[in-house]
């Protein structure tokens, strides 16, 4: 049973690596050129596949952190806490990826690294919430209290995301600074690359989650062994 799981994990890791490589090929070469006039624009547009998939994982991970928090408060089981923590850590990295890849695209497309557009703003706020979550965890010693605090913050912060989204969207539409109408419709081949990348990133996220949860379990085991030696 244990061995089977190990093999499955290795399988998923390999699958993630292979599909990410295929997705990279599709994004860079496989998908047709976007219908854009400038040459840099056409190249830059290809980041969109990874960019959107990264954002998807960033928000999905936050939802999982929320679910983990609710689960922990209901059951007080360490497993839920590990799920919430792992997802938050992975989400932080992906959210940073969203901000960086977005900026890389924005420079050639809009001429600036950053604008206070609704999606950019919400991503930045989301990233800061993640950072706050991890800082909160780092600042509490007692494991059960840490888990409880993190769960409550995960819930409080998750509920703020849709409200934030509404606020920022309303704020932006009142000042229509339309920069990117990049959703001029994706062609069929582009759609395939897009869907493939999205699925790939979801698998990748699941694999990372598995690794991270496994790592935390090992850490707990080591901690227990240490205690045993001390006693």
């Amino acid at each position: 049973m244990k061995r089977q799981r190990e093999i499955l994990l290795i399988g998923m890791t390999v699958l993630s690596a292979v599909t990410v490589l295929i997705a990279l090929y599709l994004a860079l070469a496989g998908a047709p050129d976007a219908n854009l006039s400038s040459e840099t624009g056409r190249y830059a547009q290809r980041i969109i596949y990874f960019h959107i998939a990264t954002a998807w994982v960033g928000f999905l991970a936050f939802f999982v952190t929320f679910v983990g928090g609710v689960g922990y408060l209901r059951t007080q089981s360490r497993t839920w806490d590990i799920v919430a923590l792992s997802s938050a850590e992975i989400g932080t990295v992906f959210m940073l990826g969203v901000l960086v890849s977005g900026s890389i695209w924005a420079k050639p497309a809009w001429g600036v690294w950053w604008v206070w557009d609704e999606r950019l703003t919400i991503s930045l706020v989301q990233f800061l919430i993640y950072v706050g979550y991890l800082m909160l965890r780092a600042s509490v010693e007692d494991p059960s209290r840490r888990a409880r605090f993190a769960a409550v913050y995960g819930i409080v912060a998750f509920i703020s995301v849709p409200i934030n989204f509404i606020a920022i969207r309303l704020w932006r539409t009142q000042h229509p600074l339309v920069f990117g109408n990049e959703d001029g419709g994706l062609g069929p081949n582009m759609m395939f690359a897009f869907a493939f990348t999205l699925i790939t990133f979801t698998i990748w996220y699941a694999t990372l989650m598995w690794h991270r949860i496994r790592l935390e379990r090992f850490r707990d085991d080591v901690e227990q062994l240490k205690q045993k030696l001390l006693d």
Binding site: V125, L128, M135, V140, I163, L170
Partner: protein, 225 residues
């Protein structure tokens, strides 16, 4: 004792403690004035005349938010330092009564500071803020800010980083309050009707209703040992 009586007992305790020391209130007020002064330095170098009007709502709400954070920090840290939090928790009241008591007293302190700030702000920025509709926006915004702030402050008071952590946790979550409050305040300054800024005060209202409900469900987990 009814639930309401318990809540008001906690609010009363906070008011009496504050009247005797005056440490929180004076700090909040002086800090809010300083924020305005700092903003005046920052803006006066670049913005002049009619355009001051455009930055005024933002400066006002930043001052309120920062002063609010000071107050929120004291709300639980002071209890913790004097060993009073345990006493409060041992009292035969539902823990959520502690939340509502603390939240209401924070809102009261913030509102008093804000009421004193309005004339100061009107004088410094030369915009007339003495408008009863603005009072409505300020009350809603303050309740929203304090409702989520009280949950987080109860948490951060029990962490190692304490005061440092509260703004980091609070500001991203309370961003909608700041956006909506600033938009509503600018709307009023621009002479819009309440119907025209309905979206914004409704958002504030929703926020001020959602977070006490969240606190009601989660507060127990924060304070129990």
């Amino acid at each position: 004792m009814s639930y309401l009586r318990k809540v008001s007992a906690i609010v009363w305790k906070d008011i009496v403690a504050e009247l005797r020391t005056k440490e929180m209130f004076s700090a909040m007020f002086v800090f809010a004035v300083l924020v305005i002064v700092v903003f005046n330095f920052a803006f006066d170098l670049r913005v002049s005349g009619e355009r001051v009007r455009q930055v005024a709502p933002g400066a006002l709400w930043v001052a309120f938010a920062f002063a609010g954070i000071l107050g929120l920090n004291r709300a639980f840290v002071a209890e913790k330092d004097r060993g009073c939090l345990e006493g409060l928790l041992l009292a035969p009241v539902d823990h959520t009564a502690i939340y509502f008591g603390k939240m209401i007293s924070t809102v009261l302190f913030m509102l008093i500071v804000e009421a004193l700030m309005l004339p100061v702000f009107t004088a410094f920025f030369g915009v007339n803020l003495l408008d009863f509709r603005l009072v409505f926006i300020i009350v809603l915004g303050t309740v929203g800010f304090a409702s989520v702030g009280t949950i987080l402050s109860a948490m951060t008071a029990q962490t190692r980083a304490r005061e440092v952590l509260l703004p980091i946790l609070l500001l991203p979550v309370a961003a909608p309050v700041l956006i909506a409050a600033v938009k509503a305040t600018s709307g009023i300054l621009d002479g819009l009707t309440m119907a025209e800024i309905a979206l914004w005060w409704q958002l504030l209202l929703a926020f001020a209703l959602i977070y006490p409900a969240v606190a009601f469900m989660t507060f127990d987990f924060i304070v129990k040992e």
